[in-house]
Amino acid sequence: MIPQTGATGAPIDRAGSQQVLTFKLAGEEYGVGILKVQEIRGWSAVTAIPHAPAWILGVIDLRGVVVPVIDLRRRFELEPAQFGPATVVIVIRVAGAGGERTIGLVVDAVSEVYDIDDSTFRALPEIGSTAASEVVHGLAHADGKTIILLDAERLAAGAIH
């Protein structure tokens, strides 16, 4: 089952399915629960944080709140991309140990919003430990495509500890 807990935790509109925002990353399609998405922003300059992991690009000002920005390509140890006007930041809001947290994810491009039928959901098979496996929740099928569903909470927690 796809867990429906999280920051926004609201019930989904249709039993047995869930809406997911998908985005492209190096030709693969990833998805994150739409209720966790706060907004989508264009790319803006970040302020680097000294001694942070390379995949934490830095922090931005989101209406007066300091928000860390994660480069998902670097997080998944993919070839880093050039940031340009098409680069977008998906701002997600998730529950964590110390309350709600807001983080930004840099992706190649936002693609679509899908209704994903729970019956198509499959847990990620044992693929060994990769940079991505710890934050991938599972796989689902929609519109003839496979979507890799991310565990937003773990992704955020990883940025903090």
Binding site: S44, A45, V46, T47, A48, I49, P50, H51, A52, G58, V59, I60, D61, R63, G64, V65, V66, V67, P68, G98, R101, T102, I103, A159, I160, H161
Partner: protein, 703 residues
């Protein structure tokens, strides 16, 4: 019509704790010999309102305890018992017990009954002991406890006519509670007048239509009766008349019903024998009451000055919003700077005005968070009294500048360090009376607490006129512990600073007050955490002074913007000593690795920020850049930066909210162009530098 009272619990506890504080302060003033009627009234009021509140909320243990306390206080108030040191001690203890009881009740924990019982016993012991008062009142005194009053012959009691006003129930005054309270004073006969109750259709359940005629029998003071109605003043018609005709007693209100007089005469004849003494007692009570209520009225008028209780988070929201406005305003100013034309000029003028208003708005909001330091100072009179007694030392406390205001968060964090410093001053600083006499000083030691403003900071000083710090003993101890090399002769300042080393103590023996050596390092750490700074001065034989420099607030900071490569960092101005052009002849290296700068006889390590933070630098040649001398924990280092930009007040934003705490960074702020700039934490930078230095490769030092 049942009401959920739990919603008022928090307010009750909060107010009770505050009230206990004022009671404690009044008791301490009382113990110094000022037998002031107003002080006793204050104490009485506190006990009374806690009793009333706890009874209303059903905290019966608290109510029972305050009831006994009130009985004793009432005797003090009416002058039937003299204020003696022993009584003040017990009263102070009862403040502690009440505080503990309230705390336990609030946390829904069981109350320490042993403690309460002990206090009750002490209070009862005083109540049963003969009161030492003037001869005239002596015969009356022993009879005055609530239990004894029932069989007292001389006063038949009071006739009370109570007509509640229409709003009384809405304002939370319950006539039933008053009746119950009256019944607890003596035998009560009630007659209800339901004549004004409308038909059911017209009935407003929150409108009190009943009125009462009451007869209260027993040796009860008029003041005690009036107190029952204290909260309902102005909300009801009230007439209190003695049951016997006593010419000396003037009725408080003129609205006594004519039937009352008839009834009063009737009862009076029945108890005619008691009349004379009743008259005497009544008149003394009657003269006492107006004075007390006048004083009370004056206090109510001047005390609270129309303040409101606001949750701190609401103020923080407001402060945040203002911070945002300041940033938006500077964005606007930057945008307007590049515009051209006549209207652009007008726009810029308007923006300058806007900026001025924004600053004053920001200051006003900051001021809302400011509280006088007296809220911290207030705990010391009691502490010094207790400690002095325990250690057999005579200590006097002088406080000044307790109206100096500080941010609430700063105040919360300064309490514990100050307590520690004051304890140290009493335990280690002030000598015993014998030793003081031998040294030719007054037997009374003095501790001074002083707070004042200085250059955008608040200075708090703890001064004692004791023996001062023993320089030689500190040095010997430091050598023993290996903090100072055997052949090193450190400066006076350095020696004094040794007491801030973790685990350092020169106390010859441990006392339960201090001397375990956990302390001064914690004091310094706590103060540094809130951006403060501690200094210590000592004059052997004459005492010592600890001076704490504190920022006014933790929400904004005066910062110096400095550029390193393409990054802009903010250095807190409090940490900056000076900024200098680097001169070649003053540069030194050790083993081609560590770089030192010789500044006025002192060698300061140079921290290259770009290396420490591992960011691309624009200038790597030291002579091209600037050296910013910064200080933390008494250590000075030089920060190598590319250039200095402007100085400005910045709003501190937490990095932790969405990310995590980072050593060397105190937070972040938004610049006018919308970028985030990081605020440097100088103590953290020095710590980070120490770790970093070890990992540095000699190859890097080719330049």
């Amino acid at each position: 019509m049942s009401l959920d009272l739990t919603q008022f619990h928090d307010t009750f506890f909060e107010e009770s704790f505050e009230a206990l504080e004022s009671m404690e302060a009044a008791l301490l003033a009382l113990s110094t010999g000022a037998a002031d009627a107003e002080l006793i009234n204050t104490i009485f009021r506190v006990a009374h309102s806690i009793k009333g509140g706890s009874a209303t909320f059903g905290f019966s243990e608290v109510a029972a305890c305050t009831h006994t306390l009130e009985t004793l206080l009432d005797q003090l108030r009416s002058g039937r018992r003299q204020v003696q040191p022993g009584i003040v001690d017990v009263l102070l203890r009862s403040v502690d017990v009440l505080r503990a009881m309230l705390n336990a009740t609030r946390l829904k924990q069981p109350i320490d009954t042993e403690l309460t019982a002990a206090l009750q016993a002490e209070l009862q012991a005083i109540l049963q002991s003969p009161a030492e008062v003037g001869a005239t009142a002596a015969p009356v005194a022993p009879a005055v406890t609530t239990t004894a009053s029932a069989d007292a012959q001389q006063t038949p009691g009071w006739r009370i006519r109570l007509v509640p006003g229409p709003q009384m129930l809405r304002h939370g005054n319950d006539p039933l509670r008053m009746l119950r309270e009256l019944a607890s004073l003596g035998a009560l006969q009630t007659r209800v007048d339901a004549g004004k109750v409308p038909t059911l259709a017209d009935l407003d359940p929150e409108h009190c239509c009943l009125s009462w005629t009451l007869e209260l029998r027993g040796a009860i003071e008029r003041a005690a009766v009036e107190q029952v109605f204290e909260w309902a003043e102005g909300e009801c018609e009230l007439a209190i008349d003695p049951l016997s005709p006593a010419p000396a007693v003037a009725t408080a209100t003129a609205s006594a019903a004519s039937t009352a007089t008839a009834a009063a005469t009737a009862t009076a004849t029945a108890t005619a024998t008691a009349a004379p003494s009743m008259a005497a007692d009544g008149s003394s009570a009657a003269t006492g009451v107006p004075a007390a209520s006048r004083a009370e009225g004056a206090r109510a008028g001047s005390g609270d000055g129309g303040s409101i209780r606001v949750g701190i988070e609401k103020i923080d929201e407001l402060l945040n919003a203002v911070g945002e406005l300041v940033i938006t305003q500077s964005v606007l100013s930057q945008l307007a700077a590049v515009l051209e034309g006549r209207q652009a000029e007008e726009l810029r003028n308007a923006l300058v005005q806007l900026e001025r208003h924004m600053r004053s708005l920001q200051e006003s909001v900051m001021r809302v968070r400011m509280l006088p330091i007296s809220s911290v100072f207030n705990r010391f009179p009691r502490m010094i009294r207790d400690l002095g007694q325990r250690l057999g030392k005579k200590v006097e406390l002088r406080m000044s500048g307790d109206h100096t205001e500080l941010d609430k968060t700063v105040l919360e964090k300064i309490g514990d360090p100050l307590v520690h410093l004051v304890r140290n001053a009493i335990d280690h600083g002030i000598e015993t009376p014998e030793r003081r006499r031998a040294a030719g000083k007054s037997e009374h030691g003095t501790i001074e607490l002083n707070a004042y403003h200085k250059g955008g900071n608040v200075i708090v000083e703890v001064t004692d006129d004791g023996g001062g710090l023993n320089r030689d003993r500190i040095l010997a101890k430091a050598r023993e512990r290996g903090l100072v090399a055997a052949d090193e002769e450190p400066t006076e300042e350095k020696i004094l600073n040794l007491i801030f080393a973790p685990g350092f103590s020169t106390a010859e023996q441990l006392s339960d007050v201090s001397g375990r050596g956990v302390g001064m390092d914690v004091v310094r750490r706590n103060i540094n955490e809130i951006g403060g700074h501690v200094q210590i001065h000592s004059n052997a034989g004459h005492g010592s002074t600890v001076r704490i420099r504190l920022p006014l607030t933790l929400a904004i900071l005066d910062g110096q913007l400095a550029r390193v490569g393409s990054e802009i960092y903010i250095v807190p101005i409090v940490s900056i000593v000076e900024t200098i052009q680097i001169k070649r002849e003053q540069l030194n290296t050790v083993a081609q690795q560590a770089e030192l700068y010789r500044l006025r006889e002192e060698y300061l390590p140079i921290i290259r920020l770009h290396e420490l933070f591992d960011i691309p630098a624009e200038r790597t040649e030291l002579l091209d850049g600037l050296l910013m001398i910064v200080e933390a924990d008494g250590k000075r280092v030089g920060l190598f930066v590319d250039e200095l930009l402007s100085q400005q007040q910045v709003v501190i934003k937490s990095l932790e909210t969405n990310f995590r705490q980072i050593t060397a960074l105190a937070g972040a702020t938004m610049l006018g162009d919308g970028r985030v700039a990081l605020i440097l934490d100088i103590p953290g930078i020095i710590v980070r530098f120490k770790d970093h230095e070890r990992r540095r490769k000699p190859a890097q030092e080719a330049a």
